[in-house]
Amino acid sequence: METKKTSNKKVVLGLIALVAVIAVLGIAYAVFGPKTTEGAKAITIEVIDNEQKSEVYELNTDAEYLRQALEEAKAVGLTVTGTESEYGLTIITVNGVTADFNVDSAYWSITVNGEYGMLGADSQPVTDGDEFQLVYTVY
C-alpha cells in the first residue's frame, strides 16, 4: 500500500516536471526562436512621378536583386511593369504612370542610396537599409 502511494506520488511529480519542461521549452522557443515571418533586409522604395509627387514604400525582404523586391512591393501597393530585354526588366510603367522614351524622351531612372543607379532592376543587388528611388526622368 505504502509502495503504491509512493509510486503514485512519483508519477504526479513526474507529470508536473513534464508539463514544466514543455512550458519552458515552448516559452524559450517563442522568445528566442528564429522569427521567419519578415524578410531580413529592410529597404525603402520611393517613387517620384512626372508631377514630382513622391510615394515611399517600406519593405522587409529577402530579395537578392531589386527586381524581386519590386515584385514583392506589390503587396504594399507599388505596381511596376515593363518590357523584358537582354538586360532584364526595362521599367515602363510605375503606379500607372508610363514613361515612353520613344514618345516623350522620358524613362524611369533608378537611384540607389542617392546615387544614380548603374544597373538594371534585375542586376541591382539589395542590401539591408538600402533606399531606392524610381524617378520619372526626362532626357
Binding site: T3, S7, V11, G14, I22, L25, A28, F32, G33
Partner: protein, 184 residues
C-alpha cells in the same frame, strides 16, 4: 567512513563481472537497439533507443551500461566521430543511471514520463559540447551563446522527440516488460 556510505561503495563496485550469459544478452541488446534505430532512421527524432536502453537497464541492471558503450562505439564507427558522438558518450549512460535510480517503479505512465522528459531535454543536454566549441572560438560568453542558440533552434525537434518517446513507452512498456520478466 560511514557504514552506509561503505555499503553503497561496495554495492557500486560489486556485480560488474560478466558471465557468458551476460555477453549473449548484451550482444542481443546492442543488436536490437541498432536494428530498431536503423529501421526508424527515416523518421527524424522518432526512435526506440531510449525505450530499449530503459527496458534493458530494468532487465540487466547496471550491466546494461556495457551494451550502451557498445552501441555508442558502433554508432561512431558507422556515422563518424562527430560532435553528436561526444554527446552520446554521456547522454546514454546517464539514461542508464536515471533508470537505475527509479528501477523499482513498475508504472507504464511513470516510465513514459521519464522517457518523454529525456526526449524533451535531449537538445539541452546535447548542447553541452557546444559550450566548449564556442569557448575555443571566442571565449566563455561565446561558448554559452553557441550552445544556447543550438538548443533553441532544435526545440521543435525536441518536441517531436519527447512526444514520440512518451507514446512509445506508454504503448510498449507493459508487453515488453512482461516478456522480459518471463525470461528472468
Amino acid at each position: 567512513m560511514d557504514t552506509g556510505l561503505k555499503m553503497k561503495k561496495r554495492q557500486f563496485f560489486a556485480g560488474w563481472e560478466v558471465t557468458p550469459k551476460d555477453i549473449a544478452l548484451i550482444g542481443m541488446m546492442i543488436a536490437v537497439i541498432e536494428v530498431c534505430k536503423r529501421a526508424l532512421d527515416f523518421l527524424p527524432n522518432v526512435e526506440l533507443v531510449t525505450f530499449w536502453v530503459i527496458m534493458f537497464t530494468l532487465f540487466l541492471g547496471k550491466k546494461a551500461v556495457y551494451g550502451v558503450i557498445g552501441f555508442v562505439l558502433i554508432e561512431g564507427l558507422v556515422f563518424g566521430f562527430h560532435v553528436w558522438w561526444i554527446m552520446y558518450l554521456y547522454i546514454w549512460p546517464a539514461l542508464v543511471v536515471i533508470t537505475l535510480i527509479f528501477r523499482k517503479n513498475e508504472s507504464a505512465l511513470f516510465w513514459a514520463i521519464i522517457s518523454g522528459l529525456f526526449g524533451f531535454l535531449f537538445g539541452a543536454a546535447g548542447s553541452i559540447p557546444y559550450i566548449f566549441i564556442g569557448t575555443m572560438d571566442g571565449g566563455l560568453g561565446n561558448g554559452f551563446y553557441t550552445a544556447f542558440s543550438w538548443w533553441i533552434t532544435g526545440i521543435p525537434w525536441d518536441f517531436i522527440h519527447g512526444i514520440a518517446n512518451f507514446v512509445i513507452m506508454l504503448v510498449l512498456y507493459m508487453p515488453i516488460r512482461k516478456v522480459m520478466k518471463m525470461m528472468q
